[in-house]
Structure formats: C-alpha cells, structure tokens
C-alpha cells in the first residue's frame, strides 16, 4: 500500500496513478449501474431480455449449423477442415474489422473527446491517458464480438462434446486475441494523426477505399471462375483452397482458431502453447501501443488542433443545389432543414465513411455475384440469393438508421435554442428528418438491389417486387428511427454512438428488424415461393404424372393469393407504421421542454 501514497512533492508513481484511474472508472460504472437500477429498471430488463433472446437465437442457429455439418459431411477430416477454414476466415475478417473500428474509436475518444483535453492538463502520464482510452476502445470494439462470437464458439463446443478446458480457455484466448488488433488499430491511428494531420476525412476515405478494393479482390477471387459446380465436393475443395489465406501461421487469428480446435480435440498442450502465444503477443502489442502513445500522443494532439479547416466556397455546393432541385416541391423551411442535415452528414467523416465502406462492400459483392446466374441449374439459388440480398440491404439499413438517424432528434435538442425560436412548426422539423432519412436511404438501397437483381438476371417481376419492397423498407425504417428518436430522446448524451446504444436505440433496432422480417414476408417472400413452385411444376411436367404435380399447382395458387394480399398488406403496413410512429414521435416532440 505504501506505493499508493504519494510523498508530497513527488509526481505519482505508476501504481498510484493506476489506482486513481481504476477508482475513477469504478465510481463512474457504479454510478451508472445505480442510476439504471433506480430509474430505468424496465428499460434495463427489456434490453437484457432482448439481448438474451438474440444470443440464444444465434446459439440455436449455429448449433443447427454444426449439426447439419455433422450429418452432411460424415468424413471427420473434411469436417475438421471446413470448421477450421470457416472459423479461420471468420477470425481474419473480425481481426481486420477490429483494427478499423479500434482506429476509429481511438481517434474519436483520444483526439475528439473533451476528457482527453482535461487529462492532458493534469499531471497524468501520457501513457496512462492513452491506456485509459485504449481500455475503453477495447470494450466498445469487442462487445459485438462477444455477442456474435460467443454463441458460435459455445455451440461448436456443445455439439462437438469438447473437454472442459475448451470452455476454460475460451475467454482468455478471445480476450488476448482482441487485444492484438485493437492495439494495431491504436498504433495506426496515432501514426496517421501524428504524421498526416491534415485531411482526416480524406484519410478515412482512402482507408475505406482500400478496404473496399481489398474486399473486391477477395470476393472476386472467391466466387468467380469456379471450375466445379456449386455445392459439389469439387467446389468445396476449390473454396477451401481459396480460403487458405486465413491459415497463415503468423496471423493471430490462426493461433486463436487452432488453439480452440486443439482444446476441442483434447490436445491441451498445443492449446496451452497457442494461448501463451496469444497472451504474450497481446501484452507485447499493448506495450508497443503504450510506448508509441508516450512518444506521439501529445505532438499528435497538438498537430491535429493546428489543422486548418478546409476552405469552403461561400456559394452552395453542387450536391446542395441538386438536393434543392429534387426537393423543390417540399416547403422551403423543410427543404432548408434537409440541406442543413445533408451538409452535416457530408462534413462528418465518421458517418459517410462507414456508409460508403459498408454499402461499397455490398456493391462489390453484388456486382460479382452475377457468376451464380450463369448456369440455369442454379436458378433456385439465384432466386434465394436475390431474396437474401434484399434482406441484407434491409438489415444493414436498419443498423444505419439506428446509429445515425435515431440520434438526430436528441442531437437536435442542442440546437433547439435556435430551431425552437424560428417561425418553424415542430412538425416541419420532424418531417424534414423523415424525408432526409427516407430519400437518403431509398436512392442507394434501391440502386444496390437493382445492381444485385441485374447481376443475378432475375425475372422482371421479381425485380419490380424487390424495388417495391425496398421502398417500403426505406420509408418504414426512416419513420421508425425518426419517430422513436423523438419519443425516446437522450438530451444528456453528446455522442450519437452512445445514444444509439441506449434503450431507445436498442428498441429501434429490434422494431426495425421485426418490420423488415414482416415486410419481406409479405411482399417478396411469396414471389420467391411462387417462382420455386413454378420451377418445381416445370420439372414435374417433363416426368410422368405424379401426385406432387397437383400439390404444386395448389401451392402456386396459394402463393399467388399471398403475393397479391401480401403486396397490398406490405404497402399498407409500411404506410401505417410510418404514420403511426411519426404520430407517436410528433406527440412526444410537441411536449419537449428544453
């Protein structure tokens, strides 16, 4: 304990400093938990229940997947190879995403946070300030991994009946693994900000473009020019060969994959070796990151503060003029609000870089997926893949509306001293947000689905159905995000990420997911079933009369009815959801007192 008591006149010892920061964090966490328990038990319960349901849903899904693998691939060596390759690829992808997300998180929390400015003016070690933020980034960037990765790994353990030490090693291995890419992301961020302080937006765009390009090359390499037919042993062999890049022995993802699989197979000594390797590398890279921060954080912080703002021409940009033309029928106050939001979006690299990276990746994938449609033999798959693509776009859009649209109303509260005093009805503010979100989502999403459908050469009717579904999705998701944003605002929080991670954001994500599933089930799913039934009927037409023939015709009739009713129902649902949620949001918004 003596080291914790600083002598008068001395700077704090590292131990005393660590103790002070630990106490600070503990007090903040305890205060938050107490507040949650005292004021928001219902919200906390809902979030916990939803997270648990999601976790068990994923666990069940992956358990089914591993059971299917056991039954479909009876040869143990093949099965092992598939599991190793799939887990290896998953961890490689995760590693790259963690590097990127940690870099972005460290940038935001270290260089844009007022807390850093405070900590740099008290006699804290620069390294300690960095470590404080590094630990935050570690938690924020890995919670998704825990939520998504833990059901996969536990499902594998349960289905493969692994020994107990697989479970014991799971947490230390995963934690040690996460440290490494997060440290890389932090080092990368520090180096970039220190030596390339100007044009952070351009920098992020370049990183995003590089990520999209790399993904394009990878996807093209994976799904094009396959010599064998889809889902045959030859195809599987080729696919596994092309995923061999994940088996580089120097990759931490390989250490994690093989460490876990060794533990699962009962080879505990190999597992312990790889666990030791992961832990030692985690400590090493964390130490390197701390060392780099000690050297670079203060000069980088100073450099970034000296960055000049880009010169902006006094007249409006082309995109603003274009938006004004497109929205010429919208009342002028709302149009001005939308253009203001468009400007804020353009000038926030965190928003547009994520938007372009994820939609860019989808675009690359959709363009390349056309190779599936080259053979008529795969028409059933084409049908299903086009439907899944629509679902993916909807789900991705829901994450964006949750992350960026939902917090808009809360953040607008900070500007309410101005907006509230303008001769502008509150309904105009809310509807302008809705239009901004709906139009902003509809253009890229409909374009993406169009690209996917054209690449897959789906029938025209499916293409039109998909466009309709996509429009209904965009309208509804925008309405849900804006309406709930007004209904469950968070006036205290300045960070849109934290607003999105709160109760309202979680509810928004869950309701959005339910909405997507319902709309797709009503509008697009029946058409896919109809096409599948039609294909089955044509197959049976070449064969001898069969009782399935009549059944197929009867199903087609049902699917047609479902299609007509569902399409009408989907459109009605979309409009009703939008109007209802916006009404709820409007009522709440009118009661806002700021």
């Amino acid at each position: 304990m003596s080291t914790l008591i600083a002598k008068p006149g001395d700077l704090l010892t590292p131990q005393a400093e660590a103790h002070a920061f630990w106490l600070l964090r503990r007090r903040i966490v305890v205060a938050r938990i107490r507040q949650l328990l005292a004021q928001a038990r219902l919200r906390l319960s809902i979030v916990l229940v939803l997270s648990t349901v999601l976790w068990f849903g994923l666990f069940g899904l992956f358990a089914e997947g591993f059971m299917f693998l056991d039954s479909a691939v009876p040869h143990p060596q093949w099965r092992e190879q598939i599991v190793q390759t799939v887990l290896g690829s998953f961890f490689v992808a995760l590693m790259l995403m963690l590097v990127l997300s940690a870099g972005v998180l460290i940038y935001g929390s270290l260089f844009r946070s007022p807390e850093t400015a405070f900590l740099l003016t008290i006699p804290a070690r620069t390294e300690r300030v960095f470590l404080h933020k590094f630990q935050e980034a570690l938690v924020f960037s890995s919670w998704g991994f825990v939520l998504l990765g833990s059901p996969v790994l536990l499902a594998y353990g349960v289905i493969s009946a692994v020994p107990w030490y697989y479970y014991a090693m799971l947490l230390p291995m995963v934690v040690a693994f996460v440290y490494i890419p997060v440290a890389w992301g932090a080092i990368l961020c520090l180096l970039l900000i220190r030596y390339l302080p100007r044009g952070v937006g351009i920098l992020l765009a370049l990183i995003g473009a590089a990520a999209v390009l790399a993904a394009a090359v990878l996807i093209r390499g994976l799904i094009t020019e396959m010599q064998s037919e889809l889902l045959t042993p030859g195809w599987l062999h080729q696919m596994l060969s092309r995923l061999r890049f994940s088996e580089g022995r120097l990759l931490p993802s390989w250490w994690l994959t093989n460490g876990l699989l060794s533990a699962a197979e009962g080879n505990w000594s190999e597992a312990m070796l790889l666990l030791g390797l992961l832990i030692s590398n985690a400590l090493f890279w964390q130490q390197v990151a701390i060392w780099v921060a000690g050297l670079l954080l203060r000069p980088a912080y100073s450099n970034l503060a000296g960055r000049t703002a880009a010169y902006r021409r006094p007249h409006s940009a082309f995109i603003d003029r274009l938006a004004a033309s497109v929205l010429c029928l919208v009342p002028r106050p709302m149009r001005l609000m939308i253009i203001k939001d468009l400007r804020l979006f353009r000038r926030d690299p965190v928003q547009w870089s994520q938007f372009f990276i994820f939609f860019g990746l989808l675009l690359v994938y959709f363009v390349n997926i056309g190779s599936f449609s080259h053979s008529l033999h795969y028409s059933g798959w084409v049908n299903m893949v086009s439907f899944l693509n629509l679902s993916v776009v909807g789900l991705l859009l829901s994450t964006f509306t949750t992350r960026f649209i939902f917090p808009m109303m809360s953040l607008e509260a900070r500007r309410f001293w101005l907006l509230g005093m303008l001769p502008l009805g509150r309904h105009a503010i809310l509807w302008s947000k809705f239009l901004f979100a709906a139009v902003g989502a509809a253009f890229p999403c409909c374009a993406l689905i169009l690209v996917s459908d054209l690449a897959l050469r789906v029938p025209r009717n499916i293409l039109l159905t998909h466009q309709l579904s996509c429009l209904v999705l965009c309208l509804g998701l925008a309405g849900i995000a804006v309406g709930l944003g007004a209904r469950f605002p968070d006036f205290r929080e300045e960070s849109s990420a934290r607003i999105a991670a709160g109760f309202g954001g979680t509810l928004n994500l869950v309701l959005s997911t339910m909405y997507i599933v319902t709309v797709l089930a009503l509008t697009s799913l029946p058409y896919h079933f109809l096409v599948a039934a039609d294909q089955a009927a044509r197959t049976f037409a070449h064969a001898a009369p069969h009782p399935w023939m009549a059944e197929s015709l009867r199903l087609q009739l049902w699917f047609r009815l479902w299609l007509i009713g569902g399409t009408i129902g989907g459109v009605v649902l979309g409009i009703a959801t939008t109007v209802w949620v916006m009404y709820v949001g409007m009522r709440a918004f009118k009661r806002w007192e700021l």
Partner: protein, 318 residues
C-alpha cells in the same frame, strides 16, 4: 514563474501567436485581453501543454511545458473556458480524483477539500452527481479543483462566465488572495472591467501579436488619453490606430518604475527577460501555509529534469 520566449504557433497559414515573449512573476495577476481570434486561448493552451509551439519555448517555474508536461502541470491550476467534468461522479469524487492525481496524501486532500468547500460554498451539493449541477455550480467546482493543490501558477480562461454576483465575488476574492500569497495568475477575459478591477498588469493581443504590456495608467499615457476607461483604451488600440509591439513594450518598461504588484525586477519582466532566478519551483504542497514558493531551493527538482528521472519510470502500471 511563467515565461513565453519567442513563441510562435500557427494553424495552417494562419499565425495564431506570433513571436510572443512574456514573463509573469510571482504575486502578479496578469490579464490577457484581445478581440476574438486574437490568440488568447492558443496562448493558454500552449501554457497548459495542450498545444505545442511551432517555435520558441513556454516555461512554468523553469520547466519546459513541451518537454516536461507533467512537471509543469503539477504546478498549474487550470480553469478552461469550457471545462470538462465527469457527470457520473459527485463533486467530492471529482475533487478526490484531481487531488489524487496531484499527489496529495489522503489526509491533506480531505483538509483541502473541506477548505475549498468552505471557501467556494460547495457544501450543499458536493455529494450529488455533477450531472445535476447548474452552470454556476460546475464553475465553482472547477475553481475548487484548480485551487486544490494551491498551485504557484493559475491559468484561467474567462473566469466569471455563468457565475452569479455572489460567486463572482467569491472567485475574485480567491484570485486576489492567491495573488497576494505569491501565485502567478494568467487570466484571459473579455470583461474589461474585471481586468481593470483585479489585474496587476494587462496584455493586449491582436492578430497574434502583443500590442501592449503594462498597466492601465501606462496605456493611458501611451495613448495620451488620461481618464479614459480601459474599454475605450482597448478599442483605440485594437482598431489599428497605434503602432504595436516592441516600441510599446519598451515604453511600458521604462515607465514601470513602481508597478502595482510590487515585485522586484518588474521592468525586466515587462521586457520578457526576467525569471532566471525563479527557475526552480518547489511542489505546491511543500511550502508552509498558503504561500506558493517559486524560488531556488536545494531540495527542489531541477528545472530540466525529466519526468522519468524524477519518478523512476515512464511506463504506467497496467
């Protein structure tokens, strides 16, 4: 105690602070005045270690702020214009954290907190979460944190923003008391009446350059405008009717036979050449009573000694 030596700092092509040389001695309350964008906040941020000069050095009690930021920070109490506070801590917990980081032993820390609570009248809300505080309560808490370790150097950006008359009075009295106890205070403000009321010396900056250093009387003499308010003098000077920089500084120094504040060598300080003899500072809590020391001391850390040398290690505990 505070020395800027030929300090220049730019933001891209814009020079925010140009070749600034300035010294502020013990017992001096220096008010930095200037129009918006003149370079006041940049000057303060360089002094507290948030920004680094492109050229020149900033020293606090002999420590180069860019080279030894921890040692310098230990000697500074800083009140920014937009202070950061942890919303989920109580006021007491915040003060405890700041006190711990400044190395105050727990018994001394408890005494100091009680003292600040009494002086700044924090008692009624100290154990509530900071997120419930009004602006004035937050501001008083920030002052308490800045005064907690009785620093020899106080740096204050817009001290009275959001304070009610009673709190303003409290803060002014505390600043006067700290100055009387020998502390150096650098205060940036747009409230010219405040500078007129409590500052022992003023500096007027415009477009990154010092246009005047001295007292109000000296400024009146310089502009040949006796019986004129500081506001009028400020406007006269910053509207570009008068020649800036060196000639004026020299003028002020020559006229500074007996400056208010009464520290020896003030004329030399006005010229930016003083301070060699006060390079060594003892830690703020080493001095007896409330009086901060900024004088040579055999036991004190050497001015240029690094943080690592003083503490033995630079790596934090994980």
């Amino acid at each position: 105690m505070i020395h800027f030596h030929n300090v220049t700092r730019s933001y891209g092509r814009k020079v925010a602070v140009a070749d600034l040389s300035l010294s502020i001695g013990p017992g001096e309350l220096f008010a930095l005045l200037g129009p918006n964008g003149a370079g006041k906040t940049t000057t303060i941020k360089m002094l507290v270690g948030l920004l680094r000069p492109d050229s020149g050095t900033v020293r606090v009690c002999g420590y180069d702020v860019a080279q030894s930021p921890r040692e310098a920070a230990r000697l500074i109490g800083y009140v920014p214009d937009q202070p950061f506070l942890y919303d989920k801590l109580t006021g007491r917990e915040f003060l405890e954290f700041v006190g711990q980081m400044r190395g105050l032993p727990s018994t001394l820390l408890a005494e100091r907190i009680a003292d600040q609570v009494s002086k700044l009248e924090l008692g009624t809300f100290l154990d509530e979460l900071i997120e419930t505080y009004s602006h004035g309560m937050r501001q008083r808490l920030v002052f308490a944190a800045a005064f907690l370790h009785q620093p020899p150097v106080l740096v204050i950006d817009e001290p009275l923003v959001g304070l009610d008359p009673r709190s303003s009075r409290l803060v002014k009295d505390l600043l006067r008391a700290r100055t009387a106890a020998g502390a150096s205070v650098l205060m940036s403000t747009h409230l010219l009446w405040l500078a007129e009321e409590i500052a022992t010396r003023i500096g007027i900056v415009d477009q990154g350059r010092i246009k005047f250093l001295g007292t109000k009387d000296q400024l009146q003499q310089l502009l040949a405008l006796p019986h004129t308010s500081l506001e009028q003098l400020f406007l006269e000077l910053t509207e570009g009717n008068h020649q800036p920089a060196d000639t004026q500084k020299h003028h002020c120094a020559a006229a500074d036979a007996a400056p208010p504040g009464g520290t020896e060598g003030r004329a030399a300080e006005l010229l930016g050449t003083a301070g060699q003899g006060e390079a060594d500072c003892r830690g703020p809590y080493e001095t007896p009573g409330d009086k901060p020391a900024c004088k040579p001391d055999g036991d004190a850390p050497l001015p240029h000694r690094s943080a690592e040398a003083a503490t033995g290690s630079s790596a934090p505990d994980h």
